[in-house]
Symmetry: C2
Subunit: 347 residues, 2 copies
Amino acid sequence: MNDNENNGTPLGRLGKFGLVDHIAKSFRNINRSTIAGIGDDSAIIDSENNLTLVSTDLLLEGIHFNLIYTPLKHLGYKAVVRAISDIYAMNGTPSQILVSLGISGRFSVEMVDEIYEGISLACEKYMVDLAGGDTTSSLTGLTIGVTAVGTVEKEKVVRRNGAQANDLICVTGDFGASFMGLQLLERERKLFEKEKVTQPDLSGYEYLVGKQLKPEFPAKVLAELEASGILPTSMIDVTDGLASDLLHICKLSDTGCRIFYSRVPIDYETVKLADEFNVDPMTPALNGGEDYELLFTVPLSMMEQLNNFKSVKTIGHMTSSGTGCYIVGDDGSEVILSAQGWNRETT
Amino acid sequence: MNDNENNGTPLGRLGKFGLVDHIAKSFRNINRSTIAGIGDDSAIIDSENNLTLVSTDLLLEGIHFNLIYTPLKHLGYKAVVRAISDIYAMNGTPSQILVSLGISGRFSVEMVDEIYEGISLACEKYMVDLAGGDTTSSLTGLTIGVTAVGTVEKEKVVRRNGAQANDLICVTGDFGASFMGLQLLERERKLFEKEKVTQPDLSGYEYLVGKQLKPEFPAKVLAELEASGILPTSMIDVTDGLASDLLHICKLSDTGCRIFYSRVPIDYETVKLADEFNVDPMTPALNGGEDYELLFTVPLSMMEQLNNFKSVKTIGHMTSSGTGCYIVGDDGSEVILSAQGWNRETT
């Protein structure tokens, strides 16, 4: 729907540096650490004795998004959330992003503006500055690279490798919603293509579609944990799928794990749509990915404190090395937890 | 030549995290500031009171490189040089890179290894650590995103906006070689496609082809300047073209400039091939781009000190605001300096 060829101001009219100026105009720096942003060779960041965190992500048209049903503004917003989620997952605070765009000739200035409008909204919401980037032409499709920079106090960094046997496995939010939202959008796209149904029917599934197109990151949970003096032993942002990301923590921490089938949080809409598609809702919940939720472990001794957090749910516990990774049914049966991963990634 | 379909180990055999492990194995950290690298949510960097510099670049197949004549190893090497040149251009020292790869199904593990072999060589040569990244599948072509991180002492950072009227305009190396190297490779590719000439004839132009396929950055000039107590007033790495990048410095510094036709350094091979192609060698020299040389300004008072530097040439001087930007011929005639830019970028 955004693929309007030759509609709007051609990018060529601005030129490369002109485009940078054009983008820079609508951004203002928020963080004191942003010494220099857009327009120089690199961003200059003052980390003031803290550790600097840097993470980078690539979003490719046809792999990570389909412009048929992805509004460009949402795409810009999501690209930022995706990038800064890696900084949060180290228990850090994101402060800057750098955005690289590869844009094909069919894009107009107005379309690029739409992407940056979404980027700007996410920057405001999560208090990060756009501190640079690169714009280049693309022969194939839209490519978005986002680098996120943040800081963390040296003693507060949380890695993937710190989980211990008996630690509680905690999560925020619910799982599988984004994946099911994507399935719904894909179904409606196919209907549109085959039967020229002009109005996609997404009613009753607004939450799923929102999770897919404009996800938010539960940043405030980290602030709450800090305020309560809880420092996770390990943490990861769930983007590849709950199973895959939990197995990754287990591998790096050299632990096993047990999670409980009935404790994995799944939204009502996810269950309902999974039923329509005739799949077990646990499949998207474990393997869907793009949930943008936090998965972390805390010492067992913190169980009572954790009960005060409405937005955190305990789904199981870590076990000692070599005991395997299992999902435990209500009847006590154990099924091996396997990583199907997120099917958009290289598998 | 690297486009061997289904030749070698399919990437799927490793899986996403497997691929990360596979890559991590062949890299060892050099810099003390690299607290954590590959395998966690983000890189952790200790900047120890210095400013942190971050820059990001995107390389797209068909736009920035053609795999027909670009060995994957060289491509990896060049991607690193390109990224860290932005850190050097702030007078910084690069210390880490993060690499994002978008890889299509036709790539094998061995091909990815070749790219990383080149990355590894460049990392060793320029003393930087591979500190993370992302790997994803691509529907379209090979996409390489490189983020470079570095540090600089607060009082030594050199921006693009510090040039003053009468400052000398200095450059390293020579210009137009990379562009002419590309023209030669393109000519041979077309001959190969049309007449099935199997052996490209690059003899006599080894320097041009080397500048295009495996450029180096004149990092040691920065060390020499520092040792001599010369701090440039402004600096940029020449990647878009000498004219475009100089005009950019003038714009941000609010100055004009005069450069002298006969002082722009051009290699003998560039002149010879430009002659074969029937173009004025000044055209690629001013507008070719991808030179990976330094362009910087220093106060006029440093002219004598500069004469000691064999690898630095003075090509002109800055003038006061509003006096325009010109290239001055041997007869004193002035031609307006215009930015044709690098024709691979969005223009």
